[in-house]
Symmetry: C2
Subunit: 486 residues, 2 copies
């Protein structure tokens, strides 16, 4: 309820009747837009108490307003502001109001304009292919709910610390050491809302406007957007079937002062390739020789299907130069956002302060439940189960696309991750295929990669992890029908 006692002023020394004064004030509130069309008014009894007048005074005011069509009275529903008011309500924050404050970064952001960050599902959409997200349906949500039901808010509230639940930090540190050979301690770990926030914070602390940042072309577009937003100049190196071209990185390092290298060694985004063993060794050598600062984005390390996985670059010898960023969201599904940054204690000291300015307090309740899942082994068992399922879906999708779309797309089956990188044959235009597929009920919800600056071919990520066999069948069939010659 609005604070009517403050909003409605009654002058008891006035010659105008009190009910008339109240009616006038209410009309003023409607005209100002504070009482908007359809909004419920307090009952006469309640308003009378608030204003310190008799109930009949309010009834008289309401009756006047009903007579003038400002408000309506409905059986059992009380009084409401009329939906069809004779006046145009003013909107302080209307579409045509230009704010006097303007976003300084409009230009930088506009580089993202072409990116379909969000596609609304069309009404006939039957299957949506995402960018490579986990299957939200397989997460042991019932176990999560069971653990939550045992939690008390007091307990969660007590275990809070500026950098989140200390119990979670301890458990996550062990988990990362045991799965990635990282050899870190609690003080090397900062928990964030997701890998995205970790990339944002690390970059914000390192990059000054004009700094050169080295990335692959193409690279994860929302990391590039952060670097541009911070005023960095992007220097690019190619990426091929063995991952980032490390010789090209060496050339760039010799001729430029590079402030930061951003690299995704496992299942590179968007191309899904994994950095080869030889290139890893050389890159570690370059990092040492050039005292290079690096962000290693290892967002889906936990999903490796075909081969024995590599440990992260960060587990090699790099003298603390690699900021290692990862995510639990790829395990937990998109409803639970948890990421982390691993670095030296001195850097994390600043990082935790910046995080405080951005996101005062983490979700301790969730962190503690995830910690319990990790500690009980449930988390690792779930990763094993999910790997089996996604590995199967990866094979299924790859085999079907090879068989059915051989003439249309080219791809290399990835060693892990949640998406295939489909490169379209030059006879097929991506925009065309997407439009035709949409008409058949198949939608792409992620960014598309048209031929251009970064790419010599049209491409799209085909997220298979969240699709069952029937959905993959449907998707491949729709793509096939969209690429039929007439």
């Amino acid at each position: 309820m609005l604070p009517f006692k403050t909003l409605i002023k009654i002058d008891r020394s006035s010659t105008e009747a009190v009910f008339k004064q109240i009616a006038s004030e209410l009309v003023l509130l409607i005209q100002k837009g504070m009482l908007s069309p359809g909004m419920e008014l307090p009952s006469a009894r309640v308003l009378a108490t608030v204003l310190g007048v008799h109930r009949k005074t309010i009834m008289a005011a309401y009756n006047d307003l009903i007579a003038e069509d400002w408000i309506i009275s409905q059986e059992r529903k009380g009084y409401r502001v009329s939906e069809s008011l004779p006046i145009l309500k003013p909107r302080t924050y209307g579409n045509k109001v230009r704010s006097s404050y303007t976003a300084k970064s409009q230009i930088l952001f506009d580089k993202l304009e072409h990116v379909p960050l969000l596609t609304k599902a069309s009404s006939n959409c039957k299957v949506t292919i995402n960018d490579g997200f986990p299957d939200v349906n397989i997460f042991p949500f019932n176990e999560y709910k069971r653990l939550l039901s045992q939690q008390t808010l007091k307990k969660a509230s007590r275990s809070w610390n500026l950098d989140g639940s200390q119990f979670f930090k301890k458990v996550l540190t062990s988990f990362l050491n045991e799965t990635r050979g990282l050899n870190i301690e609690d003080e090397n770990l900062m928990v964030t809302r997701g890998a995205q926030m970790a990339i944002y914070i690390a970059s914000s602390l390192i990059i000054k406007p004009g700094d050169k940042v080295l990335v692959t072309a193409p690279s994860y577009f929302l990391a590039n957007a952060i670097f541009r937003q911070l005023g960095a100049q992007l220097i690019t190196v190619p990426v091929d079937n063995d991952g980032a071209d490390v010789d090209a990185i060496e050339d760039v390092l010799v001729n430029n002062h590079i402030k930061l290298l951003y690299i995704i060694p496992h299942h590179h985004h968007p191309t899904t390739v994994t950095l080869s063993s030889a290139r890893r060794a050389k890159l570690l050598e370059l990092i040492k020789r050039h005292k290079l600062s690096v962000i290693e984005d290892d967002y889906d390390y936990d999903f490796q299907y075909q081969y024995s996985p590599y440990v992260p670059l960060a587990s090699g010898a790099h003298h603390g130069r690699i900021i290692y960023i990862g995510s639990l969201t790829k395990v937990l599904g998109s409803n639970f956002r948890l990421g982390y940054m691993i670095s030296t204690p001195d850097f994390l000291h600043s990082a935790i302060k910046l995080k405080t300015l951005i996101d005062l307090r983490s979700d301790v309740l969730m962190e503690e439940i995830i910690a319990m899942l990790i500690q009980s082994g449930e988390f690792s068992r779930f990763i094993t189960k999910a790997n089996k399922l996604y590995g199967h879906r990866c094979n299924y999708a790859a085999d079907l696309i090879s068989a059915e779309l051989n003439h249309v797309v080219e791809f290399i089956k990835p060693q892990g991750g949640m998406a295939l990188w489909l490169k379209f044959n030059e006879n097929y235009q991506l925009a065309n295929v997407i439009n035709k597929s949409a008409a058949l009920g198949l939608q792409f919800s992620g960014r598309t990669y048209p031929k251009g600056q970064d790419l010599s071919y049209d491409a799209v990520r085909f997220g298979f992890a969240s699709l069952n066999e029937q959905e993959i069948d449907f998707a491949v069939d729709a793509l096939k029908r969209s690429t039929l010659r007439k």
Copy 2:
């Protein structure tokens, strides 16, 4: 488990026995720190399968390592890396390792160094006085859990949009219109993790290094930290019992180009004063005349005890110049972080993009549950209940402090909010009082406000909302005993 298949290299053409090779490789992993002291090793059977050798080969390797004290074998617990290793394990991210990347903003952050952002509870701590947080125990958590138990991850996942749950946005828009007279639509609202994130995003979009930002002295220190972090110059105006000194604001505006005014009209942080009606009217006039951009931080509008509350400045006439920021966390308790920013659609267009770079995806699961609580009326009923309780605690604390600490502190009972602003009489030094209280089991967990740049007196916020009567009794008694003359 580590990816031993990749980490352990076996050369079958070597003259060295395979079990010896495996043992050497394991020692190397221990020396590198990938296998850390106490870490569990896979069983001989599992490792044999991974490496494609006979189980007895692994047994032989393990036995060699046990003989050399590298690993230990425990009945039923399997093999572990020895806790007391003869070597010093190297730590890539050790404390003495200085990162080659340094936080550019170190200097700015260091202004925060004196701020006790976090106090660890000492062992004898019986009562903690916070900065003014809600009582986490009164939130209807069981109802929350009940609603969560009905949720499916698929549903939450489907209702996702780049700016969160559309259902929640719709419900929150109505709630804000109905309680604050805001007259906004969905497109004027952006949901964030908390008010802090909203302040960070709005400021980041507006402030360029060197810009002048107008704040009260003192003001909310984590907002000031954001402005400094962005390179702003802070211009200050005093705050008295009627809130910010609006005449001083006028003087500053006449003589300076002010990029942004940051103001907290309700229960100003830290001083708890509310901006008077006359000053509100004048400020709105100044905003119009000087085309001033404003952040109105209205973090605890929902908690007003004594008087009929004012609506926000943002509900007045300001032609979209006021960015209105609020929080639901003060209602829900610190375990549920939800804030929002209200502005024009064009500004929010940029704000949502920046939010995407920082925090890709909001917590749709929580948002949908809170939306249900708002829609069912439970949320408003809870606010009424909490207001009654906190209003009572406010009276209780104010009366007791007046009676018992009259000679020590001065304060004005606030019209709402969750804290008292205790100004210490000059005969009592804050640092002294805090130390003595701590020895008695009373701790202050928030920032303290020592006499200095912004203040002519020592002060502290006494968060009463989360304390019951016994705890308030204890706190006041401890303060009294800490300030006894000897």
